[in-house]
Chain length 433, copies 2
Amino acid sequence: IDVNDFATVDERILDLHEADIADILDELNNAQAKVVYYRLSEELQADVLMELEEEVRERFIKSLTPTQIAEQLENLDSDDAVDILGELSQREQVEVIAEMEDDDAAELVDLLNYDEDTAGGLMQTEYIQARENWPVNRAVIELRRQAEEVDKVYTIYVVDAMDRLVGFLSLKSLLFASPKTAIGDICIRKNVISVPTGMDSEEVAKVMEKYNLVSVPVVSLQKKLVGRITIDDVVDVIKEEADKDFQMASGISEKVESNASVWRTSRARLPWLLIGLLGGILGAQVIGSFETTIGAVPALAFFIPLIAAMGGNVGVQSSAIVVQSIANGTSQFGSILSKVGKEALVGLLNGFICSVLIFLITFVLEDVTLGLTVSISLFTVIMFAAMFGTLVPLVLDKYKIDPALATGPFITTVNDVLGLFIYFMIGIMLYGI
Amino acid sequence: IDVNDFATVDERILDLHEADIADILDELNNAQAKVVYYRLSEELQADVLMELEEEVRERFIKSLTPTQIAEQLENLDSDDAVDILGELSQREQVEVIAEMEDDDAAELVDLLNYDEDTAGGLMQTEYIQARENWPVNRAVIELRRQAEEVDKVYTIYVVDAMDRLVGFLSLKSLLFASPKTAIGDICIRKNVISVPTGMDSEEVAKVMEKYNLVSVPVVSLQKKLVGRITIDDVVDVIKEEADKDFQMASGISEKVESNASVWRTSRARLPWLLIGLLGGILGAQVIGSFETTIGAVPALAFFIPLIAAMGGNVGVQSSAIVVQSIANGTSQFGSILSKVGKEALVGLLNGFICSVLIFLITFVLEDVTLGLTVSISLFTVIMFAAMFGTLVPLVLDKYKIDPALATGPFITTVNDVLGLFIYFMIGIMLYGI
């Protein structure tokens, strides 16, 4: 499309959904995107801006002057505005804030103080509240005014004279109450769920999931209502958390977007590779110390990768299940002992099947002593890896370390080294060297 | 607590939030839970039932008679009722349905026909709709009646005379319109997002995320409105999908709950262990074919696990990123070539760092030829694993196979075997054997 053909742009783009307009802008360069963007109404601009791909939005924002950025931020919900502001440098932040209206600026400066990963960092200050001492007729007028500022109204919050959250109000009860009734008399005070500003965002997600909330009020230390968090922000938290666990289990130590720079991507992966390297060197030491054994029975060397790999695989399988049940908070069921016991049974069963198979194969390929050595050590290694893969994440969790750390190269590496040691010890015993 | 002390139960439990009551019931046995459960109001019973842990709910339902189950199902939202019904045996389903009122039964039988993993399987038939030819005053009466059946009203859908979805209605516009206006004149017909019954549930989640919806209408092939899907069900889909990817990457082939039986858990893990076993045997063949090389330079055997492990680690890291960007639908950015190019650069950088380190270490521990052999093959293996880890998930995705399959033991195993081959070939060249 030719972006300077305004008639076509207006006709074909302006009526689309904000998410679809954003998809189109994602494909354009800055200059083209700007032309289309400024054809949109202010409200639509704000919606489209938040739907852009993150890197496109950053590029787009960087191409605007501080005054233009300030204009855009004023259109946005406060939680989105502060996210964009947070991505700018300190100097740019000051320039942009200087261009904003005092009210909006003060609000954003407040929000900037909260840690990104807490309820305070997720919340927006656009919400609807009524005071408990207001009569219904005044509340209706006030609420209608407030509602103009708020995009989606899920719940009306009721506060006391000190701005402390005391309950919720249903739209229905407001419509059918007589005009002189006090809000405090019709508000719901039972099961008022709120979260403190300092609550970790993962905890917020768990609270909203547990109580099936589409929005949750945020309160300060003095129990004052200061904001609300909506479900769409929490869905992002859940997805990011799952992504982070997955990456960590795959040996990537920092959260990395797929479009991050080569240098950042490398850096995030290096720590685990170095641990793997260390494991490999330890493994080399173990094998080196059994050099005479290998000299006597060279065929023992053939199954080194098999023993190492199987230990790693089983360990990762066991720990993945434990890491997930911890993440989903379902670990209350059964004690640690019952979990370990079950993994031992699973290890027993799979270890037995794999050992019998490998015995038959090595027996056919080589001889019965090698078959026994490989199958007995494989069984031992699988049993051990299953136990170890279960215990490590449980112990890490107990000491408040993210158990996802355990799933990846860490478990693999430890199981490699120990597996080799077990393998050669059994080999020495069976061959009687 | 003593569950037969009704006064205490009533006082301490009945006022709690449904999710908290469910937490308490989770800890009780069936008999105790039933006593408390039947002290609750019918509406609260339904809410609590859906908040129970899955295994507790199944156990609890199994302890009820068909008539009792039918009573409970009638209280539930249709999507929840059909989920519970789906967990029963065919015979039990027939018995329960026979006990239900005809209307409710017919609805559930309809819903049972949809595949669990589609929009039809997720949707509930409780929603609010107005006909476009209704005047506002009639609509208000009809909607109020409908609203009694529906737990949470997010959107009012507008349908034509053929029950086809034509638009949305905002509560605000309904309140301020004159009583004789037709609904069709005040409804919003722009950007009406809906999903067909057959759409995959992951696709539904993507649509709701993209358009930031808290509920989405579901339409039949004839475009008739047949249900709606709410955000809480979609959050479950997102979490399950992430769990499944994580498990698959960890070498667990079927979705397994942490409370599944030992046999099911073992079975889900065995396929990957067998692939690992096969890889180990192939690895043994590779090493076996280099037996004379090892005989000449036994120290080469020391670094077998290092080469195998590092290839696996790098492959998993690369594929994890690609799998995630495919899952998040962000893979539209940059072509396949640019992704592979970037992974090659990351591999180059990390491979170089690791190779230099391992050269220094082996040089100190052993000699310069071994140092060169290990470091050059490590570099080659890392580069190869990075490429392979990137390409395999992309290719799998192209052929509509779940790319998460690639992350786990499959990549590790292939990289193990090929890494060993590369290692010994380089060893033979450098030692001139």
